[in-house]
Amino acid sequence: MFRENEQIPLSVKFRHSRELLACYPHPNFPTISLTGGNCALNCKHCGRRYLQNMISCPTPAALREKCFELSSSGATGVLLSGGFNAEGYVPFEPFLDTIEEIKRETGLFISAHTGLVPEWLARELGRVGVDLADFDLIGDDDTIKLVLGVERTVGDYRRSMLLLSRYLPRVVPHICVGLHSGEIRGEFRALELASEIDPPLVVLLVLAPTASTDFEGVNPPSPAIFKEVAATARLMFPQADLALGCMRPRVRERLEIELAALQAGVDRIAMPSKQTIRAAWSMGLIVKELQACCAVPEGVVRPGKSFDPSC
């Protein structure tokens, strides 16, 4: 797009494109749990709650059957996720042959929410055809201990991210703003780390205090603070797509967070509100629907209808 040392026009710095992709993972890009409702960790923001909203496929046979069924009903891809083991990664080992078969026979786009993978697993995920790793990147040691409760470090996260980027076609860092009980701690460090792999897309999330978790009563970061992180990300990744992901508060300050994201120059928002779509349109953006997870690269799923500004 630009030659080395060429000055990047200001408009590109602040917005990667003139489009906003409104992303809808349901029903064509569902999330599957390979562990059912089980997780060896008990992260404070999740408390195994998020697993309850995934399709449970805890055996290779169940995964195979579900993916073939999804493929025949028009799905374009799946996000393979689940609970972590004590080492901090989703136990993909028993599923590797099945994933390879699913990829070969259905052509589904396969995203994997991996966690802190060892090198052999990163290599195997690449070998069996996983297309993309959704990688939760944390930039603060205290946050890792507080939220995940594991004795891992930022260095471990960096190492796993680099391994995944060595063996998989794409790695999309996911950075949760306010993960440290609503405080800003390692977000800017995480952005710096992400820049090491020159990602095609960076997903920003916002801590969503979830019922029946330890963080149920915490205050999420303010929209202004989120905007600061998002604007920094925009400047640091002028040629990558920037997305506001689905894990974010939806009850309070939903609109403010979405508008902050728009103003900071995000290219994608998972399930934006109608008011946000109207605001994007008034900013001169073309809003298109993408029936997929917001981390899926362009070209895998063609954007659908453009939104009517009167929506």
Partner: protein, 141 residues
């Protein structure tokens, strides 16, 4: 969950899009069914209709005049259609702060709105009763 494990409450009427309707004195109360809330997963946001809005009963092809609002889970948005034509009289504003009650109490606390119907006697015949809706769920597999 199998179809028979979902609560289908007697005395209510149901649409194929999984809205329920309860006839009250001169008005109807509307919500989404136990099946719908389970398929959505944890509800994180509910878009309510504006009081005074006129709505049309769900039919084909669907259009915006038939929409009462939307229910969102983390990864899905589902439009709530009106099972009856009429005027929105009241909305359950508690859902704006506590959308999760749609999951915990879809037929009671999790009601969405009250509509004053235009032609209840005629339109209610197009909806399913509890027995018919239970059969409908079984056929969905």
């Amino acid at each position: 969950m199998g179809a028979s494990e979902y609560e289908v409450r007697e005395g209510l009427f149901y649409s194929k899009e999984h809205e329920w309707l309860k006839v009250e004195k001169g008005q109807v109360r509307v919500g989404i069914t136990d099946y719908a809330q389970d398929k959505l997963g944890d509800v994180v946001y509910v878009e309510l209709p504006v009081v005074g809005r006129k709505v049309k009963q769900i039919g084909e092809p669907k259009n915006r005049d038939m929409e009462l609002g939307a229910v969102e889970s983390v990864k899905a948005v589902s439009t709530v259609y009106s099972p009856i034509s009429g005027t929105v009289k009241e909305v359950n504003s508690t859902l704006q702060e506590r959308p999760e009650i749609i999951n915990t109490s879809p037929y009671d606390e999790g009601w969405i709105c009250v509509v004053v119907p235009e032609d209840l006697d005629k339109e209610i015949k197009t909806l399913m009763d509890a027995k018919a809706y239970s059969e409908y769920l079984k056929n969905l597999g």
